[in-house]
Assembly symmetry: C2
Homo-oligomer: 451 residues x 2
């Protein structure tokens, strides 16, 4: 917590102890929702309810949306049904739907029973969309205009209905059947004359929209490409059903990155904060891939067993195995990371495979060559064994080139086959490269040192 907030925190805690609701209301009135949420997270359960009840009604809903799941759940259990109903009714519909998705079934039941029928209908409508679809991250609270309104009438309309719309900066123009006809921003309206007709100033060609079933990654891509404030979501007949706002897109972007980080470290996707995950749950997310990779790694062990006669003749060979394996793994995961990230930000496409292959081969020649030369002199200086130093150098050179090519190609191959490129990261690449580099190593040793 920043220092200024600490001070307010102390003050609020005192007011809670003396149950001074009036002062709590005054002090929170000017605060930011996210800051109040931070303070609530730090309070004891009894303090939380007191502070929460002191908040202005509309503010309480906003603050509630900022809390983490555990706190929401605890707070819900302490509030009365009418209190809950008021909060849910005040929430933006997409936040309310998120709430329903993240809380346990019995809590959800209490919440839905307390909400107004209209809110309940809205939430249920949003819940029907598949996870990770555009429909699941949209809100149905947008402003729609008609082409035959002028700017002045539109502003009047916005003033009437705007209060509970998530954005009023981008307005959508629909025909009487609800089919999306155009988009007009408040920017355009402000820069036009009051008498200008919406139909004349709206954008009605090359309209960009997504379908409710589109993947939410498509939504973030469009936001990044076109710098939108909001994006319309339509059904299969082009009826406008909702919008995604830029702040929600930014959140998805962050979640997608986190998902990629996890996948690349061989962890099953986790969408809860680390500290609120149970130990058993965390272990489950991690053990599966470790198990698969552990079994795969025994394959490298078999290669070693196969060449037992080689290292039995020269035990000094064993000492370079960790260096070869680690360097191969590191070189391979550099390449796979660059390519996976390139695909994720939309810069690399499947048809770039040949370019990537050629580039990785050339970089591999340079990097592998450099490392091999340094390693050769280092090894020779330490051991004085020329054939051994040459063997290690050549194997390292081949390993790095092999690792970079595999690391660069696997994510693109995965993409081409319809799998997630992020799975082809360090862990899998390392396992494959290990087997390759050990084979090369023992074969080279056999040739050069006639073992």
């Amino acid at each position: 917590m920043p220092e200024e907030l600490e001070k307010v925190f102390d003050e609020i805690q005192k007011l809670i102890e003396t149950k001074n609701i009036r002062e709590l209301r005054i002090i929170t009135e000017d605060m930011n929702d996210a800051d109040i949420a931070d303070i609530i997270e730090e309070l004891e359960p009894e303090g939380r309810v007191i502070l929460f009840r002191a908040l202005r009604k509309d503010m309480a809903a906003e603050v509630f949306a900022h809390l983490i799941s555990d706190t929401k759940e605890a707070l819900v259990s302490q509030l009365t049904a009418p209190e809950l109903g008021r909060i849910v009714d005040e929430l933006f519909l997409d936040d309310a739907a998120d709430l329903v998705e993240e809380l346990p079934a019995d809590v959800v039941k209490r919440i839905l029973e307390s909400a107004s029928p209209e809110t309940r209908r809205g939430i249920n409508q949003l819940l029907q969309y598949q996870e990770d679809s555009a429909g699941s991250i949209m809100t149905t609270e947008y402003i729609s205009l008609r082409p035959d309104m002028n700017v002045e009438q539109s502003f009047k309309h916005i003033r009437e209905v705007g209060t509970d719309k998530e954005t009023l900066y981008t307005c959508y123009v629909t025909d009487p059947k609800g089919i999306l006809k155009g988009v007009v921003t408040v920017r355009t309206m402000l820069l036009s004359q009051y008498a200008d007709m919406i139909g004349d100033i709206m954008t009605d060609t090359n309209l960009i929209s997504v379908n409710t079933n589109d993947d939410r990654e498509k939504v973030t891509e469009l936001f990044q490409k076109y710098d939108f404030m909001a994006l319309p979501v339509v059904d299969s007949e082009n009826h406008l059903v909702g919008i995604v706002t830029v702040d929600d897109a930014m959140e998805v972007l962050e979640e997608e990155s986190t998902e990629d980080f996890h996948k690349m470290a061989a962890i099953l996707p986790i969408d809860e904060p680390y500290l609120s995950m149970g130990v058993l749950e965390l272990a489950k997310k991690r053990v599966i891939w470790l198990m698969v990779l552990m079994i795969s790694a025994t394959f490298s062990g078999q290669i070693i067993t196969h060449y037992q006669s080689v290292f039995a003749a020269l035990p000094a060979l064993i000492a370079s195995i960790p260096m070869l394996m680690d360097t191969g793994g590191n070189a391979g995961s550099q390449s796979s990371t660059l390519v996976i990230r390139g695909i994720a930000v939309g810069e690399l496409k499947i048809y770039d495979a040949l370019k990537v292959l050629l580039k990785e081969l050339r970089v591999g020649l340079l990097v592998g060559g450099g490392l091999a030369v340094v390693n050769f002199f280092y090894k020779y200086a330490m051991s004085g064994d020329l054939p051994l130093s040459i063997t290690v150098g050549i194997s390292l050179f081949a390993t790095v080139i092999f690792a970079q090519t595999i690391g660069g190609m696997l994510p693109l191959l995965a993409k081409a086959l319809g799998f997630d490129p992020a799975l082809m990261a360090s862990p899998i690449v390392t396992t494959i490269v290990d087997a390759g580099s050990l084979t090369v190593y023992f074969m080279t040793a056999g040739r050069i040192m006639h073992l």
Copy 2:
């Protein structure tokens, strides 16, 4: 390129061949800037200039901002000085400053000479801020209002000056000395009466702003916490000097994630697209860490040499080394990834270290235990060697716990010492864990099998 865009592309190519400028102008008029930029990227150099010259002046600037560096550079060399001047003058100042930063010095000289003195001054002002500071990503083109204006006057003012402001949805209220006094959104103005005074409806307490020298990561954190559309940037005396808009914050967020992905794979930060990087440059970004890690890995080799007598007595021990090293590395990088990402999204703080330690220890007990049991039976079924299977099982158990603890603690330690946690990822963790797991392995073997 999406299919619809392909069609337009073919049409545009035909128009370029016949030099039909008039039709090119008409066809592009309704298109989106980002789509036109995509098409320009695909064209031959001669075609690019023809299409670019056919664009409406303000559109040309927007399209230009969307191009990748190489294309910008090529295009600049084909345009005349007055043409360049017009583009730079039309660009938003922050885009112009970015342009100056990414292009070679001689190209920049041509551009700055062609721009108007006012644009030149604006660009130079932005360039003085340090890389990665809030100042370096802000724009100076914002709308400022005075507290004694009413809503109607404000709308009139916005209509007059709004055209080249990057956002007009968030307006800043300053006193005559330029000191930031408040913020008022167009949303608030639209939901107020025309006669309401800005001073009465603006937010003037708990104003959130950043200093020009603040790190740009602080900017993205504030955007994510508070869901802003724009954030004011002030100097040390609280004079408003610029704003950061949400689309730029989103771009920074993406860049910071990419930087973390690269660092975590032991690659020096790369801020250019993969395909436009030269081979030599790419090799340089990658070889340094590989070299450091390669030398460090020889330490594991020394451990092996130290225990030469142990595996000379039982060569079958060697076969499990890859599995132990890989599993240790994978388990460690799972933990470090979770913690690094937790720190990056602001969820984990240094004071959470004890919680993380306890959690990783408990998860390690479960995961390590599970893997060890499976491995024991697998190994025993394959080899029929009980002492060997017990040795491998115990070592694996110890390795996983050690790896997860190290992986979870190192990023927090780095953070506490003021280093970047992302550096404490898979490559370094693996190197450390290797040394630990090999030591445990040989020591256990020595004890259990009396080697």
